[in-house]
């Protein structure tokens, strides 16, 4: 890129780095726990 000759050098120290925090992959909802079927056969 043609931006011409240097004029001045600055030290730029942002209070907060301008980088968005990485998007965390969303955890898939856990399947609802089901109660084990009763070993007693239904009458």
């Amino acid at each position: 890129m043609e931006i011409g000759k240097p004029r001045r050098t600055y030290r730029v120290e942002p209070l907060r780095e301008p980088v968005p925090s990485k998007q965390q992959p969303q955890e898939a909802p856990r399947p609802e726990r089901r109660q084990a079927p009763s070993p007693v056969p239904a009458k």
Binding site: M1, I3, P6, R7, R8, T9, Y10, L15, P20, Q23
Partner: protein, 188 residues
């Protein structure tokens, strides 16, 4: 803390990043799209700042130069290195360039610059950068089969606003200039 200690602390010139404009090529990778330099093979990493390296010469040339002279800070006023960004008119010639190698499209946008930043006549060279906002012109994808919406969704990985621009690449700078003037006037 003594007066001597205080004197050795240098205050930065700015505590907010500098904002400027640039053009990126869009490169297709395994898990989506990445922004890349239109001049160098550099790809911009999502979620972390791009850190400048001196890429002035070939790797072999760099090796010989490193043997000969001390490595310099990047960017350096005496070199051409650094991450480039410019005033809007400065990016105009690059928006309508022929497709860069491996690119699937071209986008324009604003970038945050920080670290060591050299102000030049029409832009900046910096040691650290991250995209701030990306605009996708209507003819951004090079292939007719690829739609701008696809690039917009794929560039979401950077976590910054990626917006469609209702203009072709060749008109993008003019439209963005008018947009900027309107926002300075507070026209919405």
């Amino acid at each position: 803390m003594s007066a001597f200690d205080l004197a050795s602390i240098e205050a930065p010139d700015f505590v907010e990043p500098i904002e400027a404009w640039r053009v990126w090529r869009v490169v297709s990778v395994k898990d989506g799209y990445r922004l890349g330099s239109v001049v160098k093979p550099t790809l911009w990493p999502p979620g972390e700042p791009l850190c400048a390296e001196c890429l002035r010469s070939s790797p072999l040339g760099m090796w010989f130069r490193r043997k000969r002279e001390k490595a310099h800070a990047v960017p350096d006023e005496g070199c051409e290195c650094g991450i480039y960004a410019g005033w809007l008119p400065a990016i105009r010639p690059y928006v309508s360039d022929p497709p860069a190698s491996l690119a699937v499209g071209r986008v324009v946008g604003q970038v945050s610059l920080w670290g060591t930043v050299i102000e030049c006549e029409r832009g900046f060279r910096a040691s650290r950068a991250y995209p701030l906002r990306v605009y996708v012109p209507t003819d951004s994808p090079y292939s007719r089969g690829r739609r701008p919406e696809e690039l917009i969704a794929g560039l979401d990985v950077y976590g910054v606003p990626v917006e469609p621009l209702a203009a072709r690449c060749s008109e993008a700078v003019g439209v963005l200039e008018r947009k900027q003037i309107a926002s300075l006037r507070g026209d919405g």
